[in-house]
């Protein structure tokens, strides 16, 4: 393991409440430069809420998020401008824009030509447009979509739409890339390719934070994994540590862990009553793991 000292992202004591519901409860979280960090947890554990707190879509009820030492303002476009780019759990490309245009939109924060320069079309405007396009084409080549630059985003196959979303996020030259379930709905080959892609992004010097359900993907990929259960950070550490942790297994399997009073008996009664039905459920759970 390389020694990582400079933190890129620091979330301190982040709490997010929706009315009476606490979706995220005082989470401390750090991503260091050059790291790939995974964030896992069962459905409804608050992963995406936490993500949205990081990117400014939600204003955390308590706590602060800082990027390279400066506290981030809770406005998505300012977060992106600061250097954090993200993708979405459900692909949110600009469906009726071409592949190239999607990436060019990602360049928005790194260019500053306004309406007047667009109307007057001075040499500065042309230069900036050309530079943006060159950078966008570089990124499209990087993810392997250069040949489809003029296709509409909605006409791309699913896997390529995921890749394009990553390219669009990279276009803002981020220091940290947040990927929200990048392999959702992908087949094993595509997942492998995404893994390679994330490594390549890390090698470009961009730290990566991944939310994912695919455990194999996460444990192959990440230097560090944090587990979020019911809004709280349960455990954080290397893949081996997390994989070995009983509480993580319990949280994923929904089985009572040690010290949970009465749960064992309740489970026994239920098992006795439901018989074969209960057996089939446990077996599916086993498969899920």
């Amino acid at each position: 393991m390389t020694i990582m000292t400079t933190p890129v992202l620091e979330a301190r004591d982040v709490t997010m409440r929706f009315g009476g519901l606490t979706a995220v409860r005082s989470v401390d979280f750090t991503v260091n430069a050059g790291e790939i960090v995974g964030l896992i947890g069962p459905n409804g554990a608050g992963k995406t809420t936490f993500f949205n707190c990081l990117t400014g879509l939600y204003i955390p009820t308590e706590g602060t998020v800082s990027y390279k030492g400066t506290v981030l303002p809770p406005k998505p476009h300012l977060v992106t401008q600061a250097g954090i780019a993200r993708t979405f759990q459900n692909i949110r490309l600009f469906a009726n824009m071409t592949v190239l245009e999607n990436v060019l939109v990602g360049r928005h924060t790194r260019t500053k030509e306004g309406l007047w320069s667009a109307l007057l079309r001075g040499p500065g405007f042309k230069k900036a447009e050309k530079a943006s396009e060159e950078r966008a084409m570089e990124l499209l080549e990087f993810i392997g979509l250069a040949a489809k630059r003029d296709h509409l985003a909605r006409n791309l196959p699913y896997g390529e739409q995921r890749k394009l979303e990553i390219a669009r996020a990279l276009a803002s030259d981020p220091g940290l890339l947040l990927l929200d379930e990048p392999t959702a709905g992908m087949n094993p080959q595509e997942t492998r390719a995404t893994e390679e892609l994330v490594f390549a992004i890390r090698d470009m010097g961009v730290a990566v934070l991944v939310i994912e359900h695919d455990m194999r993907f996460i444990f192959n990929l990440c230097d560090r994994v944090a587990v979020l259960v019911q809004g709280e950070k349960l455990v954080e550490g290397t893949s081996e540590v997390v994989q070995a942790d009983e509480r993580v297994i319990a949280a994923y399997l929904g089985e009572p862990f040690e010290g949970d009073p009465g749960a064992a008996e309740a489970a026994e009664v239920a098992a006795a009553e439901a018989g074969a039905e209960a057996q089939s459920t446990t077996s599916t759970k086993g498969e899920a793991q």
């Binding site: 979405f88 949110r92 009726n96 824009m97 939109v105 309406l115 667009a118 109307l119 296709h151 509409l152």
Partner: protein, 596 residues
């Protein structure tokens, strides 16, 4: 339609006739239709256009003649006559069927209108009957042509198959650059001629017949794939086409002898310019603005106040035109920002309702600023009359001038000024759309959350779109104040029976095609001409437009002129990941567009 069996041994026609006979009917019928226009159709010249003369067509007969001639051309192309192959690149039936239907529509409309206007079929001369029968022949012929799917599908499906554009149209041979330009030039001249004819139609019947011919033959050319080819040519020669369009617009008043038609022209241009401004707000940034006409009003009132009119509150002030245009645009811009800043935090329907409210606020405020219920600025419902004509270096816009043998009347002068303003607006629109700011507008329209996550300050770019659209409308308003001599509050309402009002402006943008340059202008021309020409529709025009819009949204949701984004058809056929929406829509050709 999803059936992909390729070679059915014997495709047959809907009407059981041998193919040779079907082709013969098409050709013979086309010639007969054209020839029948030379007969007398009625005995009295009471029906407008004088259709009583044997040996020379008049009025609506010219349209039948044109339709017959075009059907004949298509039929000859079907026979494979040399030099006409470009008319039918895919050798499909749809153009033939639609051309024949266009001829049938015009002719039967004329015959029925004669019988209806004059009180009975007894007023028809034999020529009228001959024309009616002759125009039916090519239709019979077209539907007797062998068509895939006939016999297997229901009759309704088969009928649809006859007028559907095929998926694959063979790619054209590349033309040399000068030939491409020649084609565009010819098309511009043809377009100007067709447009001028439409504006110059003197009575409603002629305009309806004209619409029949234009709609069916444009549709026929579309299904033949010629429209696609032409838009490809335009894409290659964008600036040349723009220049040609500009020239054609300038040429228009020189083709007119009556200043009344130049008046129609200038009103269409004002309406079109404002629609183009609205297109920035609605088409690019996706903000539904139902109070847009207020910005036109702000521009018009500002120009009227500084025009030097003695009824203006500042009657001593008379700005030169450039200054009053800039003042009008600036006032609209300020008004746009004032309205936009609080409202643009809302999305979708809420924004629409609030803008509707602000639009009405403008009209009511102007109505009340008469010194009684408010400060005396706008003279209330009386408005500001007697706005003087513009004067450029001694060139009085209010008087007729002779230029090179052509007489340019007052409206022709304003028309030419408006062409200049329209050119500026087109330039602003195209340049803004194709830039960082234009992309961010489209991104906001597509998905606001994703756009802000990409670093776009949504509020800021929306406000810029709103302000830019407002100032363009204000600019058009300054001219409109001078054209109409006076400004009053009534036209600047949400919905009314005559353009411009917010509902008509929005209808022009949606009808013509959102996000395009030509679309809103075409939509504005249509929406202005229809109530102008069809006098009998005047009190029912809103109903008619409602029906027209519903039909359009059902059959061509992208508008008459589709946006490039909606039009791009890529080679994704057979790609499994593309959502299979094909079965849901009727026309395979528009599937990708309809998904917009």
């Amino acid at each position: 339609m999803t059936d992909i069996t390729k070679t059915t041994p014997a495709t047959r026609g809907l009407i059981p006739l041998p193919e040779a006979a079907a082709r013969g009917l098409l050709l013979g019928g086309g010639i007969a239709t054209a020839a029948s226009a030379f007969l007398a159709w009625t005995w009295t010249s009471e029906f407008p256009g004088d259709l009583t003369i044997n040996g020379y067509p008049g009025g609506l007969q010219w349209l039948t003649f044109t339709a017959g001639l075009l059907t004949t051309l298509f039929a000859l192309a079907l026979y494979g006559v040399r030099g006409l192959g470009w008319l039918l690149p895919a050798r499909n039936n749809a153009p033939l069927a639609l051309a024949a239907l266009g001829g049938l529509g015009t002719t039967w409309f004329t015959v029925i209108a004669i019988a209806n206007n004059l009180g009975g079929v007894v007023n028809l001369e034999p020529g009228g009957w001959i024309a009616a029968i002759a125009s039916l022949l090519p239709v019979l012929g077209a539907f007797a042509l062998p068509q895939e799917g006939v016999g297997k599908d229901s009759t309704k499906e088969s009928l649809k198959a006859y007028i559907t554009k095929p998926d694959a149209i063979p790619a054209p041979q590349p033309l040399t650059p000068w030939l491409e330009r020649a084609v565009i030039t010819l098309a511009t001249i043809l377009g100007l001629a067709v447009f001028t004819y439409g504006i110059d139609t003197e009575y409603g019947e002629l305009f309806i017949g004209y619409l029949f011919v234009v709609v069916f033959f444009t549709w026929a050319l579309h299904t033949a794939g010629i429209m696609d080819r032409f838009s490809r040519l335009v894409a290659h020669n964008r600036s040349f086409t723009l220049a040609m369009g500009f020239l054609a617009a300038i040429a228009f008043p020189f083709t007119q002898t009556d200043d009344h038609y130049a008046n129609i022209g200038v009103n269409i241009l004002i309406f079109g310019t404002v629609a183009l401004g609205l297109n920035i707000v609605v088409g690019l940034a996706g903000l539904l603005d139902l109070g847009y006409v207020a910005f036109l009003g702000v521009g018009a009132y500002t120009a009227a106040l500084v025009s030097g009119s003695e009824f203006s509150t500042f009657s001593g002030v008379q700005f030169p035109f450039w200054a009053s245009a800039l003042t009008g645009a600036a006032a609209s811009l300020i008004f746009g920002v004032l309205i936009g800043a609080p409202t643009l935090r809302l999305r979708g329907d809420y924004l629409a309702i609030v803008t509707l409210g602000f639009g009405e606020i403008f009209r009511i405020a102007v109505n009340n600023m008469d010194g009684d219920s408010g400060p005396d600025i706008t003279n209330g419902p009386n408005g500001i009359p007697a706005i003087p004509d513009l004067n450029f270096f001694g060139f009085n816009m209010g008087q007729a001038h002779d230029i090179g043998g052509f007489t340019l009347g007052r409206f022709a002068n304003y028309y030419l000024l408006m062409v200049l303003i329209m050119a500026i607006v087109v330039l602003v629109y195209t340049r803004a759309a194709d830039s960082r700011i234009g992309r961010s507008w489209i991104a906001i329209r597509e998905d606001e959350t994703a756009a802000t996550a990409m670093g776009i300050n949504g509020f800021r770019v929306k406000l810029i779109a709103f302000a830019l659209g407002a100032s363009l409308a204000g600019l058009a308003g300054t001219v409109s104040a001078h054209v109409t001599y006076s400004v009053v509050p009534t036209p600047y309402q949400f919905a009314g029976s005559t353009p411009p009002n917010s509902a008509f402006l929005l209808a022009a943008v949606v009808l013509g095609g959102m996000g395009t340059v030509a679309g809103p202008i075409l939509g504005a021309a249509l929406l202005y001409l229809l109530p102008e020409k069809l006098v009998f529709l005047q009190d029912k025009s809103l109903l008619a437009f409602g029906i027209a819009l519903i039909l359009l949204m059902r059959f061509r949701p992208e508008g008459i002129i589709a946006n490039r984004r909606n039009q791009l058809e890529f080679h994704e056929t057979g790609q499994l990941d593309v959502p299979e929406q094909t079965t849901l829509t009727d026309e395979p050709a528009t599937v990708t567009k309809a998904g917009a």
